[in-house]
């Protein structure tokens, strides 16, 4: 039963990732990435990590991808154009991915044979998570709040329009 669920969610993940590579319009890539993230939330639930699954759906598939779709629609991004550089990139990128993936698979299969993961038996209640997050990892937690503050300020500064009071361009 668990294996079947793992295979279903994994198939959605794999199909979404391949679709992200195959599509040329960014909005299609964004939608397939949302499918990948939702399926990954299912995998997390299967592993017993309810907190991570909820955060995955809310933050990743919700907030971050909505931001992406918003920017794609704001900039009216069309089908990507292919230039000379993209042929070189495909020639180098696809064999590189295959080599890297096969190397990774070889290392994983060689070193983790016989290791198993218990399904749905992990003690991950919110109380234990909060104990870790707000007690053992309190300093990193507070540092991330500063990081987010800096990110907000950076986004506002970067995305705001340049001031209108700039000196007018010289007319020859």
């Amino acid at each position: 039963m668990h294996l079947i669920l793992f295979l279903i969610f994994g198939a959605v993940c794999v199909a979404g990732a391949i679709n992200l590579l195959a599509q040329t319009h960014p909005i299609n890539s964004a939608l397939s990435l949302i499918a990948v993230m939702a399926a990954l939330a299912g995998e997390y639930l299967l592993l017993g990590a309810e907190f991570v699954a909820a955060v995955q759906v809310i933050v990743y598939a919700g907030a971050i991808m909505v931001l992406f779709v918003f920017v794609i629609m704001l900039l009216n991004a069309g089908v990507e154009e292919h230039t000379r550089g993209s042929k070189v990139a495909i020639l180098l990128g696809v064999p590189g991915m295959l080599t890297g993936g096969l190397l990774l698979a070889w290392v994983v299969l060689r070193n983790s044979a016989g290791e198993t993961v218990p399904i749905g038996a992990m003690p991950g209640p919110p109380r234990a998570i909060a104990q870790l997050l707000f007690h053992d990892f309190l300093l990193p937690f507070e540092v991330t709040s500063i990081l987010i503050l800096i990110a907000i300020m950076g986004a506002v500064v970067l995305a705001s329009k340049p001031p209108e009071s700039a000196p007018p361009e010289r007319v020859d």
Partner: protein, 104 residues
């Protein structure tokens, strides 16, 4: 409920596949937004292996790490998309081949 077991390598292979797809997308895509989405795909692959290892070692620290990775990814997405908007405003293109100056 008696816990059932799956091999750890299944999860690691899935995470590795997602990471490899992210690397390939980062290399072969020309649209700057799609490249950015490939980075998010790589982060998702890493997160899956974090959670799988956390379940394997019966510890919760891996889930906390995933939480921090998500926070950093959110901050990164905010700043990155702001940079994309400002690049588009000055160059009116999203093709990375046409963005060859760091100057705004």
């Amino acid at each position: 409920m008696v816990p059932s077991y799956l091999p750890l390598s299944y999860y690691l292979l899935l995470g590795g596949f997602l990471f490899a797809c992210g690397v390939a997308g980062f290399l072969i895509k020309r649209n700057i937004i799609t490249i950015f989405m490939s980075i998010e795909l790589m982060l998702n692959g890493v997160n899956l292996s974090f959670v799988a290892f956390a379940a394997h070692w019966h510890t919760l620290s891996g889930q906390i790490f995933v939480f921090f990775v998500m926070v950093v990814a959110a901050a990164e997405a905010t700043v990155g998309l702001a940079i994309i908007i400002s690049v588009y405003r000055t160059r009116e293109t999203l093709n990375v081949d046409r963005v060859n100056l760091l100057k705004l």
